[in-house]
């Protein structure tokens, strides 16, 4: 579409005589009639074509958070930031010694649905820029993925290419991909979730800000040339996927990780010159977003000339330049007179660095095309004054129905060993080696606990410290009860960190939901945020950053509500880190739990057992007693800190039997355990009661462990010993499981590769 701007312009002045924009056009851009009227009111005239495009994209849900912002205020730090200094790209977590960690997670779901390789790759690239734009060196990436069933060839295609795309980008930029999660559920078949998380390290005094301060300071565009990529990508993310998605799809963004690697090095080097006043990466809404947000934050203004923007394609209109989502670009505001010094750094790394405008003081973003003024918009109205909406909520009917299913009436399986093997081979539980072997998870030589344990651990070079990182969310729990499901996501993430010996410090989230304009979906969203906010306050792990992805549905189905939690923990002494694998023959195996060893039939609600064996998604998610969970975590942290434990593993999907099997496989050793518990055997073995951690320890530490558990009011149940080449599990005297280590390892390791051959 090429539209000639018909505006009368005074060279330095204002725009007048604009004609009304055809409603077809702004609606196509995702703007409604009321929003258009609001734009006219703000501008005091009709917008130009370029302006309406800028508003449409900035006021989309993706950029403007018009539906989610009122709910996100439930997050304490978010609320404080909104009412105070404003939201930075990624929050900083202080880890002492003048060092800070920044982290953020972001979705690239819709791009990955149409072009999985590039969609996932550019997702990784985008989130990395959020990190180094703050002056932090990216030190780790994670990814949280959801696909449909691997029986479906198209799902296998998506899975294969998403993983390849993440590897392509992450491996090339040299940031280790150290962790993540993958779940397979039918509801994600047409709308996979690809959430990329990035973690960076900085000296807190070096933090860079996305502010356009200092009237007259030059504005510099660095990195790749601008093409027609992804115009209206943010709008695309703000509608449901449907039959027309193919045609509405913006030009696919192509990732260039080599360029990004240069951009990382050059940006960090340029920031070190001290001449960069402000800097912002370009993600959704490209130059529009970075100019108006930096100006709005500083309360300044900005003027730029689109003719000065280095372009990759000929004949681009101002509209296209302003809306392009070409990758691997940054906007820098430079101290006046130092632009040559800064440009030299970028040129050393063979990157473009071109001054495209300057900071002004009138609160407006002026966009020129040479002499022609094509847009003149109050920066704040674009960046901060997106109309917000209080949407209706309505509890969906399925919730009550699911909760009323009587799980104690289910028939017991004939062969528990068969069930264990089936669960170990269920793709959501099975080994993810097939995935993380394709990721360089060791580059930068800090990864001290490799993928495959509860959380990844990275040492912080030059200190004794280490950080642990994990992502977690069980979408099925959230579907059955978004409030409890989101709380469990927080609790489980914290538990994973604790099992590694780390104290939980903070959270980033990626909130994946269906169409918020449907009251049932918005109810799911609201309840999940309420649950997450409450849990984060309880565990003292503030949400420091995050991202919302709505409209994750197809005409066939909506996704499960999937509020993914990315959590950071701190280990004071890296030598005191812990892993999930059993270590030594003869060590005692025990369960530390906040409640009884088994949660009874109710703990089968939402379990993998229920789905895999009975084909049901029903019940309520397992109960979470946050106080008991906290005591458990404190107890285990104390035990690891005191050097009492040989291993610790969180008990999650698949229950006790699966968790014990995983500790055996990771340690390359068998174990013999004997459980005593009331209730159905299936619930004791495979129920997913919360607040349980499987530990192993040298026998001589048992008394101390018991004492520690008693002090924390935590149940300590010794259940057996490490050793041999078999996993034997008895329950109330019955011998239920007796498998060769090799058999269970093969089931667990072989499951995903078996789907992915050929």
């Amino acid at each position: 579409m090429s539209i000639i701007e018909k505006t009368a312009i005074d060279v330095r002045g204002t725009i007048h005589d604009t004609a009304p924009i055809d409603p077809e056009i702004y609606r196509e851009m995702g703007m409604n009639d009321a929003e258009y009227r609001e734009v006219v009111k703000v501008l005091g005239r009709h917008p130009t074509y370029t302006e309406v495009g800028m508003y449409a994209v900035m006021w989309s849900e993706h950029c403007g958070y018009k539906y989610s912002r009122p709910v996100l205020r439930l997050f304490k730090k978010y609320r404080e930031a909104l009412d105070g200094a404003g939201l930075e790209n990624a929050g900083i977590i202080d880890i002492g010694g003048g060092l800070g960690i920044v982290m953020k997670m972001e979705s690239h779901n819709h791009p990955s649905a149409v072009e999985p390789f590039q969609g996932a790759a550019t997702g990784v690239g985008g989130i990395l820029r959020d990190i180094f734009t703050m002056g932090a060196r990216p030190i780790a990436s994670l990814n949280s993925l959801r696909f449909g069933s691997l029986d479906d060839p198209h799902v296998r295609y998506l899975f294969e290419h998403v993983v390849a795309g993440i590897g392509f980008y992450g491996n090339c930029v040299g940031v280790p991909t150290v962790g993540g999660e993958v779940y397979f559920e039918d509801c994600y078949a047409g709308n996979p979730l690809v959430n990329a998380m990035s973690v960076g390290l900085l000296k807190t005094e070096d933090v860079a800000y996305a502010r356009a301060d200092g009237v007259g300071n030059p504005v510099m565009l660095v990195g790749s040339g601008t093409g027609r990529d992804g115009i209206h990508g943010a709008t695309f993310a703000s509608v449901e996927l449907g039959p027309e998605s193919e045609s509405r799809r913006p030009n696919v963004q192509m990732g260039d990780p080599f360029q990004e690697k240069l951009l990382i090095e050059a940006t960090l080097e340029a920031l070190a010159t001290g001449h960069i006043v402000g800097i912002q990466d370009m993600g959704a809404a490209g130059i529009t977003c970075s100019t108006c947000e930096t100006a709005a934050k500083a309360g300044s203004g900005m003027e730029i000339d689109v003719l000065k923007v280095p372009k990759r394609e000929a004949d681009m209109t101002p509209y296209e330049v302003m809306l392009s989502e070409s990758q691997e670009r940054m906007l820098c505001i430079i101290e006046k007179g130092r632009e040559e010094k800064v440009a030299a750094v970028f040129r050393k790394w063979s990157l473009n660095a071109v001054v495209i405008g300057r900071v002004t003081d009138d609160g407006f973003v002026h966009v020129f095309e040479g002499e022609n003024l094509v847009a003149r918009i109050p920066a704040k109205s674009l960046a901060d004054e997106c109309p917000t909406y209080a949407l209706e909520t309505e509890e969906p009917e399925y919730v009550r129905a699911a909760h009323s299913v009587d799980l104690s009436a289910l028939p017991e399986p004939a062969d528990y060993e068969e069930v264990l093997l089936k669960l170990l081979a269920s793709p959501s539980i099975a080994s993810k080696e097939w995935v993380y072997d394709q990721y360089d998870h060791m580059v930068q030589t800090n990864t001290s606990v490799l993928p495959g344990s509860d959380a990844a651990v990275l040492r912080i070079r030059g200190t004794k410290k280490a950080i642990a990182i994990t992502t977690d969310c069980n979408g099925r729990y959230c579907y059955l009860d978004p409030f409890v499901g989101a709380q469990i996501a927080v609790a489980e993430a914290a538990r994973n960190l604790v099992c590694s010996g780390a104290r939980p410090m903070g959270v980033t989230d990626c909130l994946n939901f269906a169409n918020p304009e449907k009251p049932q979906a918005f109810w799911q969203f609201r309840r999940a945020v309420e649950g997450m906010a409450e849990a984060c306050e309880f565990f003292n792990t503030p949400v420091v950053s995050g991202n919302v992805s709505f409209y994750n549905e197809t005409p066939q189905t909506a996704i499960y509500p999937t509020p993914v939690v990315g959590m950071l923990g701190l280990i004071d002494d890296c030598d005191r880190r812990c892993e999930q694998g059993f270590k030594a023959e003869g060590d005692i195996v025990a369960v530390l739990s906040g409640g009884p060893l088994s949660g009874g039939a109710a703990s089968l609600g939402g379990s993998e057992y229920l789905r895999a064996v009975h084909g049901m998604v029903a019940g309520a998610p397992p109960r979470l007693d946050m106080a008991a969970e906290k005591r458990l975590q404190d107890c285990v942290l104390g035990a690891i800190g005191a050097g009492l434990l040989a291993s610790a593993h969180d008990c999650s999907e698949g229950g006790l039997a699966v968790a014990i099997a995983e500790s055996c496989i990771a340690g390359g050793t068998g174990a013999e355990v004997e459980l005593m518990a009331p209730g159905p055997y299936s619930a004791t073995l495979f129920g997913e009661a919360q607040s349980r951690i499987i530990v192993s320890a040298p026998v001589e530490n048992v008394d101390q462990l018991r004492k520690l558990a008693a002090e924390h009011n935590i149940t300590f149940t010794a259940i057996g010993n490490v050793g041999g080449s078999k996993l034997r599990i008895g329950l109330n005297g019955a011998k239920l499981i007796d498998s060769d280590l090799e058999t269970i390892a093969r089931a667990w390791r072989g499951a995903i590769p078996a789907y992915m051959v050929g």
Partner: protein, 231 residues
């Protein structure tokens, strides 16, 4: 004794390699920018892993034309020690400082994991701290590590003892299952005829501290120091 670590645009194991020399070997070390051409002060040059120029055409194909590579050729001619790791190995092959080429892994996927290497002999400057037949646990991380050369070249490599490391199982047997990428004759690392330029796909710098899960890479890195001490 001075080590240098070359930095190409897109190198990403440059600092890992630098730290391994500085903090583990405790030897003086400097970065060498790809535009530099004066290598006189160095005794040993490490060509690190990564994705030089994105490896977009062929691994190592573009990097080999950097100005530093001309100088490196001269450095090698004068007998200086050169070790290429992963992408560094690929670059040295492209530059014909080592024979053969590295092609796509047979599985066509990038692989990052620990593998076992058998030390073929300890007569070289790159393995003199190892025992012959010793099995080293060192990680690989590459998509194109499948070593290939023509049959005559292979015969020459074998005859001259130019094969330094081969992929093996935990016991040191050269099985197909232990060969992660399809390399000819399980080759993981080779040296030139003169014995001063070597390349290997596995990353010794990633296995140089216990906190990283293995210290076996130190055998390789310390061999360089011993060779320089003896020289």
């Amino acid at each position: 004794m001075k080590f240098g670590v070359i930095q190409f645009p897109g190198s990403n194991c440059d600092s890992d390699t630098y730290y391994a020399v500085r903090d583990v070997l405790r030897q003086p070390v400097e970065y060498i920018w790809h535009q530099d051409t004066d290598l006189r002060k160095f005794d040993c040059i490490l060509v690190p892993g990564g994705f030089s120029y994105g490896d977009y055409l062929r691994t190592g194909a573009v990097a080999r034309f950097s100005p530093v590579m001309g100088a490196l050729e001269g450095f090698a001619d004068r007998g200086g020690l050169v070790l290429g790791i992963c992408n560094g190995f690929q670059i040295l092959c492209e530059a014909h400082l080592l024979p053969g080429a590295l092609t796509a892994n047979v599985g066509l996927k990038f692989i990052c994991r620990h593998v076992n290497l058998r030390v073929e002999h300890n007569r070289s400057a790159f393995a003199n701290e190892c025992r012959e037949g010793q099995v080293l646990r060192i990680p690989i991380a590459h998509g194109e590590g499948n070593y290939y050369c023509d049959p005559e070249t292979l015969a020459r490599l074998e005859a001259n003892g130019q094969i330094l490391f081969r992929y093996c199982d935990e016991q040191g047997s050269l099985t197909d299952e232990a060969n992660p990428n399809g390399s000819l004759a399980n080759i993981a690392g080779i040296v030139n005829e003169r014995g001063n330029v070597a390349g290997m796909m596995p990353h010794p710098e990633r296995a140089s501290e216990s906190v990283l899960g293995s210290e076996d890479g130190q055998f390789v890195l310390k061999s360089l120091v011993s060779a320089l001490v003896k020289a």
